[in-house]
């Protein structure tokens, strides 16, 4: 069996950044395993602009953003195995992968970075009743068909879910000459960025129905119509508020979840809130030397933060490879408190050189004025005011100039200021 220093699973924005960063930190024997025929991941189909404002201080399209990282990757001569599917990962960090050249092959890595991205939730996962005709797609799949393959999946479109992909596709389909009839959002607020609500819906007079959902699907072979309905405060459809809408295509933009199957099989501890792995501040999972970053760890809204996480994972993998037997003085668990959907990291492994920890979190509901608290038991360690927190935007808070060794268990929460 071949031995390598670092295996990176996934060649998208997280995996590319991880590879570049690990290489620049002295790890030369790296292999990226990518199941598609090209690097860049989901960026390849995100042809709209707005990427890279944090990283490059300019607005790029997805393929342009990817090209910057692919260029850097190629300059370093790092190996990428394309059209290659990783089938399993063991606790001993043995990867089994398959491709048409090598067949089913195994390789042993000193360290593994998991950067496999996320999946879209499907119709089955949200249980829309009715027939099962063709014409019902997840928004990202329709985006791939249109922007990469060059196929339009419908003419009269309805969209369920106001996540950013749904909004972007509303505009994209409109530009291609389709009629986008409307967008339904189950929650009383949109899950997309304001910018997308304005530039993808309002610019084209596409109505957004809040507190509304799709309750039935009609059509034998092809989609013919859907039934939409208002919902009450408990998100249950309200009798008498149904409306039938004729359409030949229903796009679902109803959430993303980490594609964490391989790590689950390897027995890595899962964070039940993100459905990704539980990690420490170095993005290391419960298996030593196995790291997780990007959308497979938790779903991001900005690619810049995915790249940052990849960079961090790459650097920490290089530290691990050089010195696998680190001395850890203690472990401090981190919990998500009031108003938080989740918080990362899940634990802090305190070492002597630990200086700061950045926490990432999402709020569970929009909060106009709030205070972020980091507490150790009842003791307030840090308090920070923050306005306009919304679930669709990930927040960060940094904790430094403290002695992490003295903590027992940290809780991050947001209290609403009224």
């Amino acid at each position: 069996m071949e031995n390598i220093e670092l295996a990176i699973i996934g060649g998208g924005s997280a995996g590319l950044a991880a590879a570049i960063s690990a290489y620049d930190n002295g790890v030369k024997n790296i292999v990226i395993f990518e199941r598609e025929d090209r690097l860049g991941g989901i960026l390849n189909q995100c042809i709209h602009n707005g990427f890279g404002l944090h990283t490059f201080k300019e607005e790029l399209t997805g393929p342009e953003y990817a090209a910057r990282f692919i260029d850097e990757f190629n300059k370093r001569g790092i190996e990428a195995k394309l059209n290659t599917l990783v089938l399993s990962l063991s606790k001993e960090k043995i990867l089994t992968y398959s491709n048409s050249k090598e067949g089913v092959t195994q390789v042993k890595a000193q360290s593994v970075i998991f950067a496999a991205g996320c999946n879209e939730r499907t119709r089955g996962q949200i249980l829309i009743p009715g027939n099962r005709p063709k014409g019902v797609f997840t928004a990202g799949l329709a985006q791939k068909y249109l922007n990469i393959e060059g196929y339009l999946v419908g003419k009269n479109i309805y969209i369920l879910g106001s996540g950013d992909i749904g909004l972007i596709m509303a505009r994209r389909m409109t530009l291609e000459g389709c009629k986008v009839i409307g967008v339904s959002e189950l929650m009383p607020y949109s899950n997309g960025l304001n910018r997308n609500i304005v530039q993808c819906l309002q610019d084209y007079n596409i109505p957004l129905k809040l507190h509304n959902t799709v309750t039935r699907i009609f059509g034998k072979d092809k989609l013919e119509a859907i039934e939409i309905c208002d919902v009450d405060d408990k998100l249950r459809p309200i009798k008498g508020h149904e409306e039938i809408i004729k359409c030949d295509c229903l796009l679902l933009s109803v959430g993303l979840y980490p594609f964490n199957v391989l790590l689950n099989q390897a027995g890595v501890e899962v964070n039940m809130k993100t459905k990704g792995s539980a990690v420490d501040q170095n993005l290391e999972t419960s298996i030593d030397g196995v790291f997780s970053c990007g959308n497979v760890l938790h779903v991001h809204d900005l690619v810049d933060f995915v790249s940052e996480e990849g960079t961090l994972a790459g650097k920490n993998a290089s530290v691990y490879i050089k010195n696998p037997d680190r001395k850890i003085s203690c472990i401090v668990n981190v919990n998500s408190g009031n108003n938080l959907g989740y918080v990362l990291p899940n634990r802090i492994r305190v070492t002597d050189d630990l200086k700061e920890v950045t926490f990432s979190f999402r709020v569970r509901k929009p909060i106009k004025k709030g205070t972020i608290y980091i507490k150790d038991g009842d003791a307030i360690i840090k308090k920070q005011f923050k306005s306009f927190l919304i679930p669709s935007e990930m927040e960060h808070v940094v904790l430094k100039d403290v002695d992490f060794k003295t903590f027992t268990e940290l809780t991050v929460s947001v209290e609403e200021t009224i």
Partner: protein, 114 residues
């Protein structure tokens, strides 16, 4: 009177501009500048794909207007983009349409394909 949702930050201020051009509801100066631009001369970058011919490797190449164009020209611009047929190889940022719809802006490829 016209109403706008500011897109500069997550707050999304509801800003109104009355018939005399008075702007109210913006939480900060950046919002004021945004609404001034939006109310007088809204601009958008158009992104789409152009048809690739003579290749069985790919059918489309992504493209964009090099800078933002007037919002009311978006559909004219799309008509021109749909007429383009391009052969491989395509260089990143190769010009696909010069001065699209006399806006002074080029449509360029956003991906290089060999």
């Amino acid at each position: 009177m016209k109403e706008f949702t500011c897109i500069i930050c997550p707050n999304g201020c509801h800003v109104t501009i009355d018939d005399n051009g008075n702007i109210t509801g913006n939480g900060c100066p950046r919002g004021l500048a945004y609404v001034k631009q939006e109310s007088t001369h809204p601009l958008r970058t158009v992104t789409s794909t152009c048809k690739v011919v003579g290749s069985n490797k790919c059918r489309v190449v992504p493209c964009k207007t090099e800078t933002a164009i007037p919002k009311e020209r978006i559909f004219d611009c799309m008509k021109e983009i749909k007429k383009v047929e391009v052969k491989l190889p395509i260089k990143l940022h190769q010009i696909l349409i010069e001065d699209v719809c006399e806006t002074g802006v080029n449509v360029i490829a956003t991906k290089g394909i060999e």
